[in-house]
């Protein structure tokens, strides 16, 4: 398959389509032609940017963001600070606060739906509705729910004779309010993923369990949940990666506040690079690399575990 002589031959005489000797080389040329559009986009907007991010992270910049001096690793050294520690902690708490209720909630919904005899499909569709909401539309609706002046949720609490909640105005509560919005947006996706997993469980498994006398909750807990292992794991990893990348809901609902209490890693990148005309691309790029590392670790964990699962089943 040396390209030289074969391509010469091709140039000399256009061979018939069935010519076995020229086909591999022509296939290869065509393959690269077919891959070229994708490769071009990846090279320009994914691979080159990664290199440039590394470059930017090691440079200081002037007030309009042009790199003007080499600073080595000092942006990374600056991250060993209480301020950045707080950002990482906020990110961690937010991620847990989104992933745990989201996955547990989706699992509960799917198991409950299994017990429904009629209308299962419509109910599942109802649970999937929030998936239609963009992060902006969901955040705007929840902004009305949380609004300090006439919060819809506080109105409901008031009618029930309960205390008002400072949804977005208290430092302790704001992060949870953003997390609730995020869980609401993501629950439908979890339901769809796990429902597809249940659909893939072989009939015989359930039949066998039933013959052994397992019904209702016991069937769900002892048979269905273990069989959903791969889907649950997938959902946990995807939800984690998504939660780490959450941006719109923070931007719209809290703007990172009050007093930085909802400033996660992605939001901090935005603030340093783009908000208030800061243009501190160096600092933001260093943080972007931290984000990249965290997401890579999550993905590698998933690849590792899934690979093992494949051999196991």
């Amino acid at each position: 398959m040396t390209p030289g002589p074969v391509s010469e031959r091709r140039a000399a005489s256009p061979p018939p389509p069935t010519s076995k000797r020229t086909r591999p080389a022509r296939d290869a040329t065509l393959a690269w032609g077919f891959l070229a559009p994708s490769v071009l986009v990846f090279a320009l907007f994914l691979i080159y940017p990664l290199g440039r991010t590394v470059y930017l992270s090691m440079h200081g910049n002037d007030i309009i963001g042009r790199p003007n001096r080499f600073v080595g690793l000092s942006h990374f050294a600056e991250m060993v600070s209480p301020e950045f520690g707080r950002i990482l902690l906020t990110t961690l708490v937010f991620t847990l606060g989104v992933v745990v209720p989201g996955v547990v909630g989706a699992l509960a919904v799917v198991l409950l739906l299994e017990g429904v005899l009629r209308g299962q499909r419509i109910l599942r569709g109802a649970f999937a509705l929030p998936f239609a909401f963009s992060v902006a539309s969901a955040s705007v609706v929840f902004a009305v729910f949380y609004s300090p002046g006439n919060s819809v949720l506080n109105g409901i609490l008031y009618r029930m004779g309960l205390d008002q909640v400072p949804w977005l105005t208290s430092q302790e509560m704001a992060l949870w309010s953003v997390a609730i919005t995020t869980v609401w947006m993501n629950l439908g996706y979890g339901v769809l993923v796990l429902a597809a997993g249940i659909g893939a469980i072989p009939k015989e498994v359930n039949e066998a369990a039933r013959i052994d006398g397992a019904t209702g909750p016991r069937l769900a807990w002892d048979v269905t949940v273990p069989m959903l292992g791969p889907q649950l794991f997938f959902l946990i990893v995807i939800s984690t990666i998504n939660a780490l990348q959450s941006f719109g809901q923070i931007h719209i609902l809290t703007g990172g506040g009050p007093v930085g209490s909802t400033t996660t890693l992605v939001y901090s990148i935005y603030q340093d690079a783009f908000a208030y005309g800061t243009s501190d691309f160096g600092r933001a790029s260093a943080q972007a690399l931290v984000l990249l590392a965290v997401v890579l670790v999550c993905t590698v964990i998933q690849f590792g575990v899934i690979e093992r699962k494949v051999h196991y089943s």
């Binding site: 069935t18 999937a128 019904t215 719109g248 990249l292």
Partner: protein, 311 residues
């Protein structure tokens, strides 16, 4: 959920997925369980089940309900405390107010153009690449495919700063080109279409080739028409994620004329935070297209979304 086409679905690329998802409602347990319907304990169980389901369903549906009901309330009914929860009639003031406050229709067009271009281009680039991986033999095919998949691991947010600098450097800030260029190819689509193409009957391919049909003609006249379900699944998925993009349109657009609907919602929220009715009306208007897709195309969406989750 971050709706940027990014690592959001990245982990789906495990090579273990099948690309097809069995419809969950075809499973046996439903009918089998009907046989167990008897006794007081059973009735109690059913009641408990429905109460628990309602406990989840009400909070999930309430925001959807309130968005539409609030949209058609009178503005003052929403700005009193406690705000009304039940509809009182159909009042168009909020919708009119939202359209007057922000040029939502123009932004609708921008979102449609952006999401449309991204979807068509991704289908094009993904189908070509998937074809190369399935039907063409070339050295390093497996390695290149692995490299394609590895691009899914990169969170889009990590590339936004350099992409912003590149595109504004080319003078493409605040243009459609700037909005769409970084998203014209995406390995997730390639991955899904590869799964689908692999199931294409080999004999049909061989027959077409022996008849002297070229690769491009085979791709266009036979493979694409027969792969419509997979293409639709990918297309819908890409359309919804790009329609919902937030971070990138926020930084690359400046003028109201170029902003997308999602950014318009934020402007509405910033400018009209004291008018909850306008916010709800804006959200309702922006959700309509994707809501229609989710309701009428759920089967395709499930297929695209869960492809990585089921072996």
């Amino acid at each position: 959920m971050s709706r940027e086409p990014s690592a959001a679905v990245g982990a789906a690329g495990t090579g273990t997925a099948t690309g097809t998802v069995r419809e969950p409602e075809r499973t046996g347990p439903v009918r089998a369980r009907a046989r167990h319907r008897h006794g007081f304990g059973h009735v109690f169980g059913r009641v408990l089940l429905f109460l628990l389901l309602a406990a989840f369903l009400v909070p999930v549906l309430f925001p959807v309900y309130y968005m539409f009901v609030g949209t058609f309330m009178e503005p003052r009914e929403l700005s009193t405390f406690p705000p009304r929860l039940l509809p009182t009639g159909v009042h168009p003031e909020n919708v009119q107010g939202a359209l007057a406050a922000v040029p939502l229709l123009r932004m609708y067009t921008n979102s449609l153009v952006m999401a449309g271009i991204i979807t068509l281009c991704q289908l094009f680039t993904s189908a070509l690449a998937a074809y190369a991986f399935v039907f063409l033999r070339f050295r390093g095919s497996a390695v290149v495919f692995a490299l394609f998949l590895s691009t899914l691991m990169v969170p889009a947010e990590a590339t936004f700063i350099p992409n912003y600098l590149t595109l504004t450097g080319w003078g493409l800030g605040d243009t459609y080109a700037g909005l769409v260029l970084p998203f014209l190819a995406y390995a997730f689509g390639t991955f899904l279409l590869r799964q689908s193409f692999k199931q294409f009957p080999r004999e049909l391919y061989d027959a077409a080739r022996i008849d002297g049909m070229g690769h491009l003609r085979f791709l266009w006249t036979i493979l694409v028409p027969l792969s419509k379900p997979a293409l639709t699944a990918v297309g819908m998925y890409v359309f919804i994620t790009s329609w919902n993009m937030y971070f990138w349109p926020l930084i690359i657009t400046r003028s109201t004329e170029m902003q997308t609907l999602q950014i318009g919602l934020n402007s509405l929220k910033v400018g009209e935070s004291s008018n909850p009715g306008l916010l709800l009306a804006g959200a309702a208007l922006s959700v309509l297209p994707t809501l229609a897709l989710v309701i009428f195309g759920q089967r395709f969406i499930v297929r695209g979304l869960t492809a990585g989750a089921v072996k």
